[in-house]
Subunit: 236 residues, 2 copies
């Protein structure tokens, strides 16, 4: 599905036409089911994460052609890789159709994709926050690389930055500071998308990003002249 | 334009309808102009790299609405970031429309995107080969991360692997060996795409990849169980 309802490709539309049932997972995207149904001219059945992780779709696809619409590019999430593997094992014919992804949409910042290090995702579940994003950012910065920090689906930029600051208070390696300049993004690839290059503290209280999802944060590494010039476009 | 003519999105088609002239750059893709013209129902004018890098499109867009179709996602290449910046500076209204990219299409290997390190591109110009890809691969391997090695547009998998071996003979750090298993890919996201998980030496003489472009090579880092299982799907 990409990042926006109209990101759907002609290839995806062709495939949808051949399918009897169209399932969709809106787990990581705020796409509108109604708008998408209008576009594809078919009914969409929304599946929860549990159903996607079960053998439901495999069983369905033994009887009829089914489509599963997912956010971003098709195999960016582990769950969908596992579904693909399962289908292959079961001898079910499966076609992958690619779509636009946040992984490359962040090039709009002006930061070159070749200069990004490992990607990380901030999560908070039942009050627990894994440390690993902090370590990924530290390693990327230490070698001058940019960090794309994805946020859990229900997390806006201020919430994500709050978690980064929490991790800093815990680990105390002076990686995340209030003065550091970051790129805050919300709804990238959509009409209402916002992008700002500002200090972490500013972004933390920036009302423009409150409750705006999906969101991500980019922590720049070493900048070349062109990257600096581009970032100035988003200077708050 | 994504990876295949039919990757074009409804959003792109809408924008194309509003444009008087449609330019395209096929620098990094083997897309067919004729097929694309049929799909968009408009004539396409192909631009060479020099023209894209000049102020030609800026001048055109002062008079009429123009579109530039590029391979993969819209700002993956530095040239297009510079064009975007130039347009912004000149006060020209510009819309970015995202498309599928090789950066995420490689998830078909089964290797998780979160476990990729920095991306690198192999080049050979006038007999000269930059060393940097070797260093990028070494660093990625040293921290267990996967490496996506993009190849220059005219380069197939065997040629790319030959260059990696050349770099090894020069640098002698025992990073690239004939026995190491790599993932060879050609025409990813297209109907004739090929993907094989095999030893570097096998891939080097694999006729299936000869003259097949665009191509890329993936050098796996540490593998988890699921990744191993997926890679077996492509075992030659």
């Amino acid at each position: 599905m990409g990042l926006d309802e109209k990101d759907i490709s002609l290839k995806a539309l062709d495939a949808i036409k051949k399918c009897k049932k169209i399932y969709a997972e809106f787990y990581t995207n705020k796409g509108s089911k109604d708008e998408l149904e209008k576009i594809i001219a078919k009914d969409i059945l929304i599946l929860g994460r549990e159903k996607v992780e079960s053998d439901f779709l495999i069983r369905e696809s033994r009887k009829i052609n089914v489509a599963l619409l997912v956010s971003g590019d098709v195999l960016s999430a582990t769950t969908h890789i596992e579904l693909f593997l399962e289908a292959k094992k079961e001898g079910i014919e499966i076609e992958l159709i690619h779509g636009p992804s946040i992984f490359t949409a962040v090039a709009k910042t002006g930061l070159q994709l070749y200069k990004f290090g490992r990607v990380t995702t901030l999560m908070k579940e039942d009050g627990y926050t894994p440390d690993s994003p902090y370590d990924v950012i530290r390693k990327n910065i230490s070698v001058g690389l940019h960090s794309l920090v994805l946020l859990n689906t229900d997390m806006d930029v201020p919430t994500g930055l709050g978690i980064l600051k929490e991790l800093e208070s815990k680990k105390k390696e002076n990686i995340i500071t209030g003065k550091m300049k970051i790129v805050a993004c919300s709804e990238l690839g959509r009409e209402d998308s916002k992008m700002k290059y500002e200090s972490l503290n500013n972004a933390l209280s920036d009302n423009d990003f409150k409750h705006k999802i999906p969101a991500c944060i980019i922590i720049p590494g070493d900048l070349n002249f062109k990257e600096e010039e581009m970032l100035e476009l988003w200077s708050a």
